[in-house]
């Protein structure tokens, strides 16, 4: 049988004898501790593998031990309060030939704007819809031995190309909306850009002096994500005197945070008052809408709404129709069957019911909230209001429910938690304050662990997983024996 240490060395890509002896020692130790040999081997390969060098384009949320070579485009600093301590965080943007991303470091940087640097051992998170390289320490940053080549030649693209194209781009588009945001000391302008082929989100990292409805020619923009154009400080942005007609989007082409975009679709399920509410569909996707101004259309109509915003409402996207609405003729949209849409979406996002076991408890029980903003405190600190002396005490259960094919984090508010645990918040406070039983909440929470429940609530899914804000919960109440009998009968 081959020596497992040799296999590890090969996987790690090293021939260092000192490292080999070190790994042998650790492997023996792991096996002695009862770790299965295969697993022990994998552990050590992971531990000693050199981090992979990546391009900005290849980075993904949650990645760790990443190395990259990039140029520093900007550097800003700001004061934050973390766990009661004032700290300075430095952040800015990096670029390489594949794109741009943000970075942050909690120490005074050993680099300046314009430097080409090698960054080791970083981890990647998402920040403001862009990737962020988190640098652990200045020890992980060194001057790059090779220059960062940024391809200056940008490809000429249309807005629709942002679906698949990644890299430098040159394009002409109309700015449909634009708003400024303050972030980490930088002012970012975010909005929606469009042309005759489609729409995309756009962010400008400096004030180029442009306004809504301007038609601009941009050279040196970066497309590093789908439907998103990033324009850095050193891009060229020029206002031009031409006209661009933006074609109306179908409902399935609308992206969250699009503003002032024209949308076409078939509407149904309408209720009218001062505003008109209902659903709008293109047969592929259906979204709720509110028309704030115009109500002169009815269920079954195909409409063109010229000024629409797509925003997050509860856990789904909603279309706000701000301007006039026009009834139009569109045979394709007229043919969409509303009945089928209703059937299809009744099972999709919105509310969800799960039945399964509570298999894990997360931080919860008695929690302290900021009396001003209701945020949960860490070490009596509110991230917005600093040290809090008189927190609001609340009760909440946060747990993982799992039905064997999927799992979701469930969050129970005070009323539901009280019902499930069998004591009121006041009773818990008394028990804890009188130090009769400081662990009482935890002990009671453990009673629900590993038991089956049925929960219903508002469903949300993001990159971290599924969450249900529970509105109703009860222990599973099924006639298990009768069901077992039915299952057996079905197979006889």
């Amino acid at each position: 049988m081959p020596d497992p240490v040799d296999e590890i060395m090969e996987a790690v890509g090293s021939r260092d004898d000192r490292l080999k002896e070190k790994i042998r020692g650790e492997l023996d130790r792991l096996i002695e501790l009862g770790v299965p040999p295969e697993q022990a081997k994998d552990t050590l390969v992971n531990k000693y593998s050199r981090a992979v060098e990546k391009k900005i384009e290849e980075l993904s949320d949650g990645e760790r031990r990443v190395s990259l070579v990039a140029r520093v485009i900007s550097l800003n600093q700001r004061e934050v309060t973390a766990r009661g301590e004032k700290k300075t965080v430095y952040s800015g943007f990096l670029e390489d030939e594949t794109g741009q991303c943000s970075y942050s470091i909690w120490q005074e940087p050993n680099f300046k704007v314009g430097d080409a640097v090698r960054i080791n051992n970083a981890y990647i998170t998402m920040w403001n819809e862009t990737k962020r390289v988190n640098i652990r320490s200045t020890n992980d940053v060194s001057p790059s031995e090779k220059p960062v080549e940024i391809k200056r030649e940008a490809r000429e693209i249309k807005v629709k190309d942002t679906e698949s194209y990644r890299g430098r781009a040159k394009l002409t588009c109309v700015i449909l909306s634009l708003r400024s945001f303050e972030n980490s000391g930088i002012t970012v302008f975010r909005g929606t850009a469009g042309d005759e082929t489609g729409c995309a989100l756009i962010s400008l990292w400096k004030d180029f002096g442009i306004k809504e409805k301007d038609v601009v020619e941009i050279d040196g923009a970066t497309v590093s994500q789908q439907h998103s154009i990033s324009v850095s400080e050193n891009a060229e942005v020029k206002k031009v005197q031409s006209r661009i007609k933006v074609n109306p989007l179908k409902v399935s082409q609308v992206q969250l945070n699009f503003r002032n975009v024209p949308v076409v679709g078939k509407v149904y399920g309408m209720t009218k008052g001062k505003t008109a509410r209902g659903m709008i569909t293109d047969g592929k996707k259906t979204l709720p809408f509110v028309s704030w101004k115009s109500t002169a259309f009815d269920s079954g109509d195909v409409i063109l709404a010229k000024e629409c915003n797509a925003r997050r409402y509860m856990s789904t996207m909603q279309i706000d129709i701000n301007g006039e609405v026009e009834k139009i003729e569109d045979p394709e949209l007229e043919a969409v069957s509303v009945e089928e849409e209703v059937k299809r979406i009744s099972e999709a996002e919105g509310m969800a019911t799960v039945e399964g076991f509570m298999i894990d408890l997360k931080e919860g029980g008695l929690i302290r909230r900021c009396p001003q903003c209701n945020r949960v405190l860490t070490d009596m600190q509110c991230s917005l209001h600093g040290k809090i002396t008189e927190p609001k005490i609340d009760l909440r259960i946060k747990a993982v429910m799992d039905d064997g094919s999927d799992s979701a984090t469930v969050i129970l508010n005070r009323t539901l938690s009280e019902k499930l645990l069998g004591k009121t918040l006041e009773e818990y406070i008394e028990l804890v304050q009188k130090a009769l039983n400081p662990d009482v909440v935890l002990e009671d929470c453990e009673k629900i662990l590993f038991k089956p429940y049925r929960a219903r609530g508002i469903f949300r899914e993001d990159s971290v997983g599924k969450t249900i804000i529970v509105t109703a919960i009860e222990p599973v109440d099924r006639d298990i024996a009768a069901e077992a009998e039915r299952v057996l009968e079905g197979y006889q």
Binding site: I359, G404, R478, A484
Partner: protein, 269 residues
């Protein structure tokens, strides 16, 4: 790895009998979690088990625990890296009904055989109702997988995991159906024993025929024959008395012989 940034792997349901037969581990990519392919056709990174914690044995580095469900028993080890599980096992009196969340992996013995390993994540007591619900839902999930497996076996379109299970384990469908049915029977309503006379005998003779067929299949695979203990272990889904009856019947028919006490071989024609 940082669990907060990665989607949580669901805890799959499978009876212990099936878990014990699993031995194939795969990784779907360099950084992706590892999965164990289960014989009914599913890739599982994590499992949720409910059963009776039957006994624990203290070891130098931790504690070994045994759990059983209606189909089989299974063991796992908890050491200093899972202090909460270890401390629970140290202080809990056996037997009791327990739930276990465990990561799945495989390990290789010195003679090259591969077995499943359960790396405990959390453990706790639960109740009889939860246990019955676990048996029912585990049976339902397993039956769904067996349907896919059947499709895959018969060469029709099926889930990739089902196709992989056929390729890797060539899973015996009948055995697995029987395992599920046996588990379900343990939670049926308590009725007076067989209302219709004769019905019980009919079921029993059907079961006996199945037991005979399976015993033969097992013995056929091993050239040196099989010991009584091995057979009982392999035929966990049967009552021991049925296995004994099946062996007696096979010897009476002249299909089997017992070259030495407690070892069975097929009589070559």
């Amino acid at each position: 790895m940082n669990d907060r940034l990665r989607k949580r792997e669901p805890a799959k349901r499978a009876f212990f009998f099936e878990l014990r037969e699993a031995n194939h581990q795969v990784s779907m990519g360099e950084k992706s979690p590892k999965y164990v392919l289960l014989p009914s056709g599913i890739y599982a990174n994590r499992a949720f088990l409910i059963g009776i914690l039957t006994s624990t044995e203290r070891r130098e580095n931790g504690i070994k625990a045994y759990m059983s469900d209606p189909t089989s028993d299974i063991s796992f080890f908890s050491g200093r890296y899972t202090p909460e599980v270890t401390s629970f096992l140290n202080k809990t009196e056996t037997p009791c009904i327990c739930a276990l969340v465990a990561k799945l992996g495989t390990f290789e013995t010195q003679d090259g055989a591969r077995f499943i390993s359960l790396k405990p994540e959390s453990i706790g007591r639960t109740d009889e109702r939860a246990r019955e619900y676990w048996i029912l839902t585990t049976a339902q999930r397993t039956l769904e997988r067996l349907e896919q497996l059947k499709e895959a076996k018969e060469g029709r379109e099926a889930l990739q995991a089902a196709k992989d299970a056929v390729e890797h384990y060539n899973t015996n469908l009948e055995r697995y159906y029987r395992m599920v049915f046996a588990a379900l029977r343990t939670i049926l309503p308590q009725k007076a024993e067989s209302l219709i006379p004769g019905d019980e005998n009919e079921t029993k003779s059907k079961e006996l025929e199945e037991a005979k067929r399976e015993a033969l299949q097992i013995i056929e695979r091993k050239e040196d024959g099989v010991t009584y203990e091995e057979l009982i272990k392999e035929m966990k889904t049967y009552d021991e008395s049925i296995v004994e009856e099946a062996l007696n019947a096979l010897m009476d028919e002249g299909t089997l012989f017992e070259p030495m006490l407690g070892r069975f071989k097929i009589l070559e024609p």
